[in-house]
Subunit: 227 residues, 2 copies
Amino acid sequence: MAVPESVSIAVSTVIFALRSDGDDAGASLRVPLVRRIREPFKGKWALPGGPIGSRESLVEAARRSLLETTRLTPTYLEQLYAFGEADRAPGDRVVSIVYWALVRPDEAERAAEGENVRWFTEEELPTLAFDHNRIVAYALRRLRTKMEYSRIAHAFLGSTFTLAELRQVHEAVLQKQLDPANFRRQIEGSHTVVPTGDVRAGGRNRPPRLYRYDTAALRESDPTTSP
Amino acid sequence: MAVPESVSIAVSTVIFALRSDGDDAGASLRVPLVRRIREPFKGKWALPGGPIGSRESLVEAARRSLLETTRLTPTYLEQLYAFGEADRAPGDRVVSIVYWALVRPDEAERAAEGENVRWFTEEELPTLAFDHNRIVAYALRRLRTKMEYSRIAHAFLGSTFTLAELRQVHEAVLQKQLDPANFRRQIEGSHTVVPTGDVRAGGRNRPPRLYRYDTAALRESDPTTSP
């Protein structure tokens, strides 16, 4: 194997979306992956991404490669980390700037799916190309940490939501059942959401109340905010 | 100007250290910069850094370039952000992976200083090479945000410290005077530090108590933790 003479750069994105598991079965956190159609790792699943164009910024490259491979145009798209171990691509030296996207259900519905794009749960993940298993594991850890101290659950929901919907996001990301009464107390105690005064329309006797995030209490605590 | 045909990659580091302003004058947050000895921006001050070697990881490149330019070997060295706007380097396409280092006083004392390395306070910063003013401003914002919700002040202190020393870190970073009694109440209420049982030796009648961070209460809340 030749010693690489230059370092090339690519952009990849870890996409997280909540997708329904079917009627009444709840929702799971899923990651769409793209099947590689050339070497190295031909036929393996990988994060969507690719090289950056000479006139593109990093985030523009991430957005374009997402659109081309998955047809997704996520609202929440932030830089996660740059991976640059010397041996992460066979015979080549590639630094990957990794973005992560959190996708609402209505955004996820527009996504491509087919032979070469598939949505995996964490448990279903196969051995991916390059170091992409490690990258997905890191993104999951960051997502779970962030769920505890910031309002990132918001990115998976519309502008208004019921407490049951908010709890479902937490359950899917943290992969554990939460007690509804405890969850309600905890959220109400955090003063991060406020009732809108409306209820979720439907055929039930007691339609659930709708909430929104309290932007008045929003603190600038998100450390992955772009410069 | 030719259209760039390839994208090159560099590593730069923003170093923050608390340095004494002289006898009894307190301490200021300072950033060491390196004078450029070649074009572009020859003669301008810039963040220490350079290209990455073909066998180095990103953090190894950051560590080596810091040692070569400033003789610093900081304990706290984390990836901050990748900057990759298309027009950030004249006539060239360079993506910079930016690290940040927080340096304790004993580490800072070993640093180089001379004609081509100088320590600047925020107010003294001149117009820097490339987009380095923007990078320093972003790093300062992240540092101040992080000071509020994590134990990052620790990185500027030894393993034990007085409450006055901890307050001095907060004052230097946030650039405002803090009321000693309020600060004490706030820190004691946060349960993040515990008394060691020892006092700071000295000639005073009431030598101040020493504290350390309570590692038992340490939560994994640092989102810039490396993978």
